[in-house]
């Protein structure tokens, strides 16, 4: 859309308006529909005292005489103007201003506004009147912007000019190096002086040669070489009082040494301190090297040293520098030690005698070489009074790597964008990386460029669709252009030129890739990689969604019912593992897995819970389960929605039909003891659940009966009754006096039993909100999150914050989740959180508002916060690795689900063991170590047994590398313990005290009794073995196995482990008995088999089978 001339006039100063009017007149005369930049150029050239013409004459790299070039310019301009379509018929009185010209005006406006000296002026204007001030564009700025126009630069190019040269000439008027109107970078800092950037080196730089200030522009890089810098530093060392003999160290140290010596010989003034100007250099490198290698005898070297001495004595200047050269020669293995010592002594002696007149200098390529030399002459640093000088800059191998003067193209920010083919003519154009495009690409590129500059903003993507390129390539280019996007805000002109640059780059890439079949230039290939990290999660999610729908369509109703019901069973049993598997598999997988499980469980479990449940659930009305499936795949949020669907299903199932049964079933799997109180509990549940849909969004304190809540919680958590009581009390208290108070509730759970805490929170969330959907878990201790995986916790797939969530801080994550809905927020290890999070939490607890990093605040009312610390009251760290406990919580939580293996050996009382065991051929080396065993009669104390098993484990290290990982993890423990103590700083502690003051309730958790449990498990296992084999057989268990079993108990409850012992282990014993004829003295040992890496094995703490050797 062309702009009316009057509108364009409003943006210009008087001088510029006159030029524009002239241009409009030209356009009218020629009958053109629009006034373009070309008209403007023609007008600029024709006005008297034309600054453009003058600038053209001043461009320096003219190959032809200026007059000739100007003639050519006029010619090419008129030719271009002739080419423009003209319509004689409907002549416009004032041909409107074309978009490209208007864009140029806008661009110069923006530039002018950014210039620092104008900045304050416009700011004042801006503040005084409310409307956006109109910047009157000065002629010179306008010229510069017009020169950016590709059409113009082509015309100029045809005449042998380069628009960037003209630009520079325009920017720098004659006789003045201080063109104020250079483009200032949009720096945030206001500069005290005009932002010159071509001509200011001279002023700040007194040491550089005078030639720099001569006319025009000398390249600054020629001013100082790194070599000079090194020489200066060497000089500085040499004038010191102590340690004044430099030893240059670095890959290019020899080069630096050479250049220093050259400087010395040239009496390098300006580089070296005045004291060192008259130096003599003696090089003894060759002699020393030959001498220490035994190629010449002592006499020769003696002679040489005497020579040196004489020279020092007779020297008239400031002294003598003795170059002993590269240390490598003296550091080699073949070097004769005595000779070396002689050299060192002699040089040291010379130094002492002629202190102040004699310097040593040398070089070494790396520290290793110096170190080797140092090893042979430990006191060398003192003897030779050495100072090591690191040399880090390479000598430039090629002059070619030095920038050439074509750099100045890029000095003007907008310059150098247009690598039009005409550039090829000019002498400096070789610097373009990618001018070489084939004809076809070139044309296409130009088309796009023209389209861009004419149409202002053209939709690039549509154009790209027309091209026949593969889509990934288009994507890449899109990416490249996206990279430009940030600049959009700055200036539309810049955007345009950047876009053009992007287009050109694109075509370069395409051309190179397709037509030349050359390897892609580096930039392009990297853009590829940049583009690709598209969110894999969404794709996967979509796939899953697809699966879900497939599932429902492919299967009959009957099977989907079954699927639903089985899922439900697993969900209801609150088996943590199941939840995670639901998250990671599609329903289809779950179905098969569920079946697998069922099959496998049948093999060793009493056909109790699972079968019963499915039997009851099968006659479910079809409607409910199919509804759940529908829920699963219609909602947009993929897998979580499946879980949600299932949980909804659970709700609907329990509320819709007899409330007793499903809830009842979920218990059967877990706790048989509670069967007595089944009915009442079920009532509680259904009551809560049915309340849920109506009230949950407003407030969570809707469980009317605290006793019910307590019972339900105890049942689900299974321990920590005292803590639960306190929690329930607090909730109820809050409920009664909710009026006038904030709705958020803050707990702090202190002490050990991490799983217990988590379980309680999960249970709370499920009971209060009906599902774990609104549970947000964050472990704030930064170490645990990264350094080792708590396998047990990984099994839970809640809304857990993971540091790998890219670009999102914990705070953002919390704020985002809190803003969604009232939720239960579980923050672990707040004492180890970083200060930022801690501050936010303090803020939230005191004001009820949580603010994210951008300062946006989120209301946390109606949310339940549970924070945990391992601190006990009084700031004492609870350490479970104290003397009193054998099995620490940390180790249990870190236990891995290894397969368990059974080794059988014969205990032949002490010494003969090893021999016999190997003879029998069925023993592993572990058995060779001496052991004390846990007698089935119970005569040996369990503790003792454990000690010995530990020892066995240690002793076996030399044989079995399988145990190495375990050893490592032990080391880890100790460091992590150290770090933990360290990391809780004083500040953090004082913060915690403040924080605890503010929260609603502090709840102390008791440690979980792992030792007692371990005893019980051991006893159970012994009993089992006793039953199968008889009392004479001994059982030995590796600590890892015990830990694994303890972890299973901790996670799933005693019953599971008991069952496992009764079935799996028993089977194992039976199998072993068959295989080996147990006699009275046999020993059965359980070890964890670490042959398979934990990644490969599923995390099953209770393996379905015992491996025998």
């Amino acid at each position: 859309m062309p702009t009316p001339v009057s509108a364009a006039r409003a943006c210009l100063t008087q001088e510029a308006v006159a030029t524009l009017d002239e241009a409009v007149a030209v356009a009218r005369r020629r009958g053109h529909a629009q006034t373009t930049s070309l008209h403007m150029v023609s007008s600029l050239l024709s006005i008297p005292n034309s600054s453009l013409r003058e600038a053209c004459t001043r461009t320096r790299n003219n190959a032809y005489s200026t007059r000739l070039q100007l003639k050519a310019l006029e010619l090419s301009l008129s030719v271009s103007l002739d080419r423009l379509p003209s319509s004689r018929t409907n002549k416009v009185e004032e041909p409107p201003v074309s978009n490209s010209l208007m864009a140029a005006i806008k661009r110069s406006q923006a530039n002018q506004r950014r210039q620092p000296e104008n900045f304050s002026f416009y700011q004042q204007q801006y503040s005084s009147c409310s409307s956006v001030p109109v910047v009157k564009v000065e002629l010179r700025n306008l010229i510069i912007s017009i020169l950016d126009d590709p059409l113009v630069s082509r015309v100029l190019g045809e005449a042998g000019f380069r628009s960037c040269d003209i630009k520079i000439a325009t920017l720098r008027p004659v006789n003045s190096f201080h063109g104020h109107h250079l483009f200032g970078y949009s720096s945030r800092y206001k500069r005290p002086q005009p932002p010159l950037f071509l001509c200011n080196f001279n002023s700040s730089d007194s040491t550089s040669e005078v030639s720099m200030t001569s006319k025009g522009f000398t390249f600054p890089f020629m001013g100082g070489f790194p070599g000079e810098e090194n020489s200066r530093r060497i000089g500085e060392i040499m004038v010191k009082d102590k340690k004044k003999n430099p030893l240059l160290l670095g890959v290019s140290a020899s080069d630096a040494l050479r250049s220093f010596l050259e400087t010395v010989q040239k009496k390098g003034e300006g580089v070296l301190p005045t004291r060192l100007i008259e130096l003599n250099v003696i090089c003894v490198e060759a002699e020393i090297s030959r001498f220490v290698n035994g190629d010449c005898d002592e006499e020769l070297i003696k002679l040489r040293f005497e020579e040196v001495e004489k020279l020092v004595q007779n020297s008239v200047g400031s002294g003598v520098v003795v170059n002993f050269g590269d240390l490598k020669a003296m550091g080699e293995e073949s070097v004769c030690v005595d000779a070396l010592r002689y050299v060192v002594c002699e040089l040291g002696r010379l130094l002492q005698i002629h202190a102040g007149k004699l310097w040593l200098i040398g070089a070494a390529a790396s520290y290793e070489i110096y170190y080797r030399f140092l090893n042979r002459n430990p006191s060398i640093e003192k003897d030779w009074d050495l100072e090591i000088l690191p040399i880090t800059s390479l000598r430039f191998s090629t002059e070619g790597s030095f920038p050439r003067s074509s750099l100045m193209e890029s000095f003007v920010p907008l310059g150098g964008f247009f690598s039009t083919p005409t550039d090829m003519k000019s002498p400096f154009s070789s610097s373009y990386l990618n001018v070489v495009r084939c004809h076809l690409c070139n044309e296409k590129c130009e088309q796009e460029v023209t389209a861009l500059s004419n149409g202002g903003v053209t939709d690039l993507s549509t154009e790209k669709n027309h091209s026949s390129l593969p889509s990934w390539m288009q994507m890449t280019e899109n990416g490249a252009l996206n990279g430009v996007a940030p600049l959009k805000v700055k200036d539309d002109g810049m955007l345009l030129s950047a876009k053009i640059a992007g287009v050109q780059r694109k075509w370069d890439g395409i051309c190179k890739h397709h037509h030349y079949n050359q390897p892609l230039p580096k930039m392009n290939s990297h853009q590829l990689t940049f583009q690709f990290p598209c969110v894999p999660g969404t794709q996967v999610a979509e796939k899953r969604k697809g699966n879900a729908s497939n599932d429902s369509s492919n299967h009959t109703f009957a099977s989907s019912t079954e699927c639903g019901s089985k899922n439900k069973v697993q969900f209801l049993s609150t088996d943590l593992e199941q939840i995670s598997s639901l998250k990671t598999h599609s329903p289809l997988d779950v179905l098969s897995e569920a079946e697998n499980r069922k099959i496998s469980s049948k093999s060793y479990e009493k056909p109790s819970a699972v079968e019963d449940e499915s039997a009851i659930l099968k006659p479910n009305p079809l409607k409910s389960s199919s509804a759940s499936i529908n829920n699963g795949h219609t909602s947009p949020t993929s897998t979580t929605s499946v879980t949600r669907g299932l949980s909804l299903h659970m709700l609907s199932a329990s509320t819709g039909r007899e409330p007793g049964k499903p809830v009842d079933q979920c218990r059967v799997g877990r706790t048989k003891e509670f069967s007595g109180s089944l009915s009442t509990d079920a009532d509680t549940f259904s009551g809560i659940i049915s309340n849920h849909p109506t009230h949950s969004s407003s407030c969570f304190f809707n469980s009317k009966d605290p006793k019910m809540l307590y019972k339900a919680l105890v049942e689900r958590v299974g321990q920590q009754e005292e803590a639960i009581r306190m929690v329930v009390e607090t909730i109820v208290q809050r409920q009664t006096k909710i009026a006038g108070r904030r709705g958020d509730l803050w707990f702090n759970f202190q002490g050990p039993d991490r799983l217990g805490k988590k379980r309680l929170v999960v249970a709370l969330c499920e009971i209060l909100y009906g599902s774990t959907e609104s549970l947000v878990c964050v472990d704030l201790s930064f170490k645990e999150a990264m350094s080792h995986t708590d396998t047990l916790f990984k099994l839970q797939g809640m809304n857990t914050y993971d540091v790998t969530i890219r670009g999102k801080t914990i705070i953002d994550y919390l704020a985002e989740n809190l803003s969604k809905k009232p939720s239960v927020v579980f923050l672990e290890n707040i004492d180890k959180a970083d200060p930022v999070v801690q501050n936010k939490l303090s803020h939230a607890v005191s004001t009820g508002r949580f603010s994210d990093l951008q300062g946006r605040e989120v209301n946390v009312r109606n949310s339940l916060f549970v924070t945990t610390t391992r601190f006990m009251e009084g700031g004492q760290i609870f350490s479970s690795s104290q003397e009193t406990t054998k099995y620490s919580e940390e180790n249990i939580l870190r236990a891995k689900g290894w397969p368990i293996r059974m080794l059988i050996g014969i205990d032949l009382n002490d010494d003969l063991t090893s021999q016999n065991a190997t003879d029998k051929g069925f023993s592993s080396p572990i058995l060779m170590s001496k052991r004390k065993l846990i007698g089935t009669d119970g005569s040996t104390a369990p503790c003792g047994g454990l000690e010995t098993t530990k020892r066995v484990h240690k002793a076996s290290n030399s044989f079995l590398d399988l145990n190495l990982p375990a050893e490592e993890s032990e080391i880890w423990d100790t460091c992590s313990a150290d770090l933990d103590c360290d990391s809780i700083s004083e500040n953090s502690r004082s913060w915690l005290e403040d924080f605890i003051q503010q929260i609603d309730k502090m709840v102390v958790f008791k440690p979980f009794d792992f030792d007692g449990l371990a005893d019980k498990i051991l006893a159970d296992m012994k009993e089992c073995l006793c039953k199968v084999v008889g009392t004479d057989c001994l059982l030995e268990t590796e600590p890892e196995v015990i830990e694994q079993l303890l972890a299973a108990t901790y996670l799933k409850g005693c019953e599971k482990v008991e069952e496992w012992i009764q079935h799996v282990l028993k089977q194992g014993f039976i199998a072993a008995r068959k295989k080996f004829n147990h006699n009275a003295c046999s020993v059965v040992k359980l070890v964890s088999y670490k042959g398979i890496s934990p990644e490969e094995t599923p995390q099953i703490l209770l393996p379905a089978r015992i491996m025998t050797n």
């Binding site: 080196f201 730089d205 670095g250 800059s393 790597s401 770090l979």
Partner: protein, 266 residues
């Protein structure tokens, strides 16, 4: 010099802790790059921030083409700042070129540093016999040529490349600070950086170092981190960051903070 240098390089001291932590930015950024990291340390540390003389935020007149021909001049600046602030012990976090500066500074004044944390550090970018720095001479010349011919285009290509991870905000930020550098200074500094070789002197470093390396860094291959670890004279550890890009403090500040805290406490 004196106070004027502190002003020119925008030296800031933030925070109230006892220990001193220096955060030094790398090529193409300025101290604002630490803004995501800074809040995590102001409580426990006094954090010293400054701009390298080549940063876009520093008045380009300060940049003396004759002085800053090698990294040693930058080291001078750093030591000068620390001395002027009266710092006698500090932990130092340096990114890219500042990591190299830190290494050199610790060689010169080992007693000044308790710990060096090197992010995206490389003793030498050029490949050499039995050393893989990631760049061939030709490639570097190409890069320099690209910078020379069209700085803005180079910035637009280089920024996403260097940032690596798909974090548009970080790309934006980096392009901005990179573009703020005057092209000739940027070119000159990259010359200096590419032409420096610290391999020979690594053994002189006695200060314990932590090397933080991202999984994929276009400027620093993984082998360099291992090389550094093996060659550095002091106790050194490598921390891997499970992200990509050369600028983890922009792309994954939370992950970096964890590693930094770990490195500082260890």
């Amino acid at each position: 010099m004196g106070q004027s240098l502190l002003e020119a390089l925008h030296v800031r001291v933030e925070g109230s802790g006892k220990k001193i932590l220096v955060l030094a930015h790398g090529f193409g950024t300025d101290q604002s790059a630490w803004k995501h990291i800074l809040p995590f340390f102001v409580r426990d540390y006094r954090v010293v921030l400054y701009d390298l003389v080549c940063a876009g935020s520093v008045n380009p007149e300060t940049f003396n083409f004759c002085r800053y021909t090698s990294l040693d001049a930058y080291v001078d600046d750093l030591l000068h700042i620390l001395d002027a602030l009266g710092v006698d012990r500090c932990a130092y976090v340096g990114h890219s070129v500042s990591a190299m500066i830190g290494i050199l500074a610790s060689i010169r004044r080992p007693e000044l540093f308790t710990k060096l944390i090197l992010i995206g550090a490389s003793p030498r970018f050029l490949n050499d016999e039995d050393y893989h720095g990631g760049f061939e001479q030709g490639e570097i010349e190409e890069v320099l040529l690209a910078m020379e011919s069209n700085y803005e285009a180079w910035v637009n290509g280089f920024a996403p490349l260097s940032v690596g991870a798909d974090v548009p905000a970080a790309v934006r930020e980096f392009s901005l600070t990179l573009f703020n550098m005057r092209p000739d200074i940027a070119l000159f500094v990259s010359q200096t950086v590419f032409s420096s070789d610290l391999r020979g002197v690594l053994g002189l470093v006695k200060v314990p170092c932590s090397i933080i390396q991202t999984a994929k860094d276009v400027s620093v291959p993984m082998s360099v981190a291992t090389y550094l670890k093996n060659q550095l004279g002091g106790l050194s550890t490598v921390y891997m960051l499970d992200t990509e890009g050369h600028l983890p403090h922009l792309t994954a500040p939370n992950m970096l903070v964890e590693k930094l805290r770990l490195a500082l406490s260890g």
